[in-house]
Subunit: 472 residues, 2 copies
């Protein structure tokens, strides 16, 4: 029985809007548009993603900090491109109590302008570098477009890493590390992705270049989960982040940032879920296994005891498990836990007990098998791995089947998904393609062979490939 | 060698202001008054406190949520006393980008008015109760008084639990549970405390009654770490939080809240620290043990190997440890880790190795002992427990020695610390005592024998005891 009124393959966007509330991730009834309430289940999921990010940050020598939310207007305005890029989408605090503030403060849309004046105090010498800091906070952007839970909101749960380096090359090494972090993290979340070097006119305000991390949603639209920015010394100059070099001179630091948002959760919901509900990657599922006693009269105690014993064993083995002993039918329980996306369901009834076995059902495929109770830990762990692998493979298939290399505008018009085309390098030609596709310029593939075609718009030599897609 | 310029017992407040920055807890140079930067060491400490709180919430069946930061003015104004209490100390967002908002939004000073309209949607029936939610967020208050790191700031790291119950009695049971949580938590943080039932004129805006959790700082002033509020149905009525009772009628929920802030960290710094730096309770110390190799030429490898082996063993035993193998003198290393408050230092040199022993130094007492390497895990664990017990005992002595029961105004004038006096129950008499002491009315001791004295101000019969103190 489907949980949603709308089917995923009939109207993806409506299905998505429905499922995020049905599965208790968020409540959209808060009276400010684009500011939703995180319900316990959704918040646990989000903080499980945060924990994976913290693990990666810890392994790579980043330190967690917490900078103030509010930024004085004067600090914000030091980097010109930055204020131009963000000025129209920030919230302003103008009053405190009954008093008008002497200077307006804004709610951070991102924290460069809060952090960098302080970094300039922390960094004195080359021995202070590299400086690798991150924070996980909420950021604020005044979205005027239609909002959508986790995907386009005005209060955004956000991870931001900020690093300072002795030179451009060391900052480039950081970007390499960032890519490897994305790779490990998104593998765990079963999210295949592509890196795109954003075009000049669409890079982050103040950046030297921007690499976006994009996934493909089942609607055929791409969703940008995060980005990695090389700043060179663009911020270091106005914010005076300089240091004494080994030979006693002064030099500006080179900086990078790495940001990812709650859109990760949007991707997990959208890519993996089905008409019955969420399907969660085992790495972040609040519950990895739910155990359901199949009770017949007279056998209650034995079955319940077996379920509870198994639960303890799984918990001891580091597997997040739960016994659903509510007084309702097994069918109702299946429905609830399928909606919540628990990767594995275990059923134990009198017949299983007779055989010292358990019945295991995979949420992703519905596949059912029995296995001996004796080494359930290993069996469950193997099945969790199998679910993760299957989720990744399915999402990879979706991505691969919807990426197309095309060489003419005509062909592009008839192609869905992510289109890679030869590109001469001029903005006008890219915008023409955007027009035709009613889509966006995603960016250059960062690792692809040199193009030897001609630009399908102007016919000039095209040395680059450029990707286009409709995006969220 | 003391780390601070100012000695703790000569000028506590200045010592405190100095130590919070010296020990890398925060940076006070952010250009908005009362909004400090959490440095990595301070933020790790704070999040370790948060983890203890989360454990307690989890054990007592609370669920973690995350509500929006911004609250529309109209929602905020539904409970009259609440707006009166907070109206003058909130920050107002009035503009988004270039647009003036139709309605002003405020930054949460606390989240009653954000949560309760949503609770009214979540609660339909008695089966939805009790509802027990909490969040750990930053809150905002426009402090006009002098700010002080962790103690009086404008962006406040804050824990807030909100519960809804079928009736007053069930809410009272929640308050009992809250007291037990405070007890367990503050025991782990080595912070003896007192509960005080705040006087009518100083309870939380909108509450039926308020119990504060206060500690005594070495300056002789009390510091309120948190509070527990009984709301009755004071908020449920304006926010329409009602439910269907078991016999089909409608009733309003009764509510409680429980809040604690980053002041907990201020208390830990102020109460336990000394002129060498912090002294951290083992339960939250980012490092519980630092291992320092004492190296003589020719023996480097054996000593370093022994240190690293011990470190691995301690980590495996769940003890947070670190080997300081920097190329500097042991003296410099002692200085640094004493400043950071690491509870135990282990030294291993060639002579220790010959005896298969280690030298262990306690941060709190400076006490030095040797113990066999063979069962270092147990030895270290026992010493960590001993440090925790000693910190608690020392703080308890400070509290007990500075709590005085006095029965005349004359005597009160000459008494420092926390003064408990007979009280007739009128505000005027309490304010008179406040005047005389240049202090505050702390509140009634919640568990004390009935008073049979007379009020020292008006001479009337005094059935209650009331506590007074100078407070932060």
């Amino acid at each position: 029985m489907p949980a949603t009124k709308v089917k995923k393959d009939e109207d993806f966007n409506e299905w998505y809007n429905e499922i995020v509330e049905l599965a208790d991730l968020c409540d959209k009834r808060y009276p400010i548009k684009g500011m939703n309430v995180w319900r316990p289940y959704g918040w646990t999921l989000m903080t499980n993603v945060d924990s994976l990010i913290r693990d990666e940050m810890h392994k790579t020598g980043h330190s967690e900090v917490m900078f103030p939310l509010l930024i004085p207007e004067s600090l914000f305005k030091k980097e010109e491109e930055h204020i131009e890029g963000f000025g129209k989408e920030v919230f302003w605090v103008t009053h405190a109590g009954l008093t008008q503030l002497e200077e307006r403060w804004l709610l951070r849309p991102t924290s460069e302008t809060a952090m960098y004046p302080i970094f300039s105090l922390w960094i004195r010498s080359h021995t202070d570098l590299p400086l690798k800091m991150y924070q996980i906070v909420n950021t604020f952007r005044y979205e005027t477009k239609q909002t959508r839970a986790f995907i386009r909101v005005r209060e955004i749960h956000f991870f931001e890493a900020h690093t300072c380096h002795v030179d451009f090359q060391d900052a480039e090494r950081q970007i390499q590390e960032d890519k490897e972090i994305a790779d490990r993290l998104l593998q765990k979340l079963c999210l295949p992705y592509i890196f795109n070097k954003r075009p000049e006119w669409d890079k982050f305000a103040g950046a030297y270049y921007t690499i976006s991390i994009d996934v493909l949603m089942p609607s055929g639209r791409t969703l940008q989960l995060g980005s990695i920015h090389q700043y060179k010394d663009n911020f270091a100059k106005p914010y005076e982040i300089s240091y004494e070099t080994q030979d006693g001179k002064r030099a500006y630091a080179h900086q990078t940032t790495y940001g990812m948002s709650e859109r990760i959760l949007g991707a997990i919901v959208g890519i993996h879920g089905d008409n019955k509900g969420l399907i969660l990657p085992p790495a972040i599922a609040p519950l990895q296994v739910v155990i359901i006693p199949i009770i017949f009269k007279g056998k209650e105690t034995a079955v319940l005891d077996a379920c509870r014993t198994l639960h303890s064993r799984l918990q001891s083995a580091g597997i997040r498990s739960h016994v659903d002993d509510r007084e309702t039918t097994p069918g109702n329980k299946y429905y609830d836990w399928e909606l919540k996306g628990v990767p594995l369901r275990i059923e134990i009834g009198p017949r299983d007990l007779d055989k010292q076995a358990l019945t295991l059902v995979r949420r992703d495929s519905g596949e059912k098998k029995t296995m001996p109770l004796s080494n359930a830990e290993d069996g469950v762990r193997a099945e969790l791995d199998a679910v993760a692998a299957a989720l990744y493979t399915k999402a990879e298939k979706l991505l691969n089947e919807n990426m197309h290399r095309v060489c003419s505008v005509e062909e592009a018009k008839e192609t869905q998904g992510i289109i890679t085309m030869p590109w001469c390098g001029t903005k006008d030609c890219a915008l023409e393609i955007e027009n035709v596709l009613e889509g966006n310029t995603l960016g250059e593939p960062i690792e692809s062979p040199r193009c030897t075609e001609t630009c399908p718009v102007c016919g000039q030599k095209a040395e680059k490939w450029m990707r286009f897609a409709r995006s969220y």
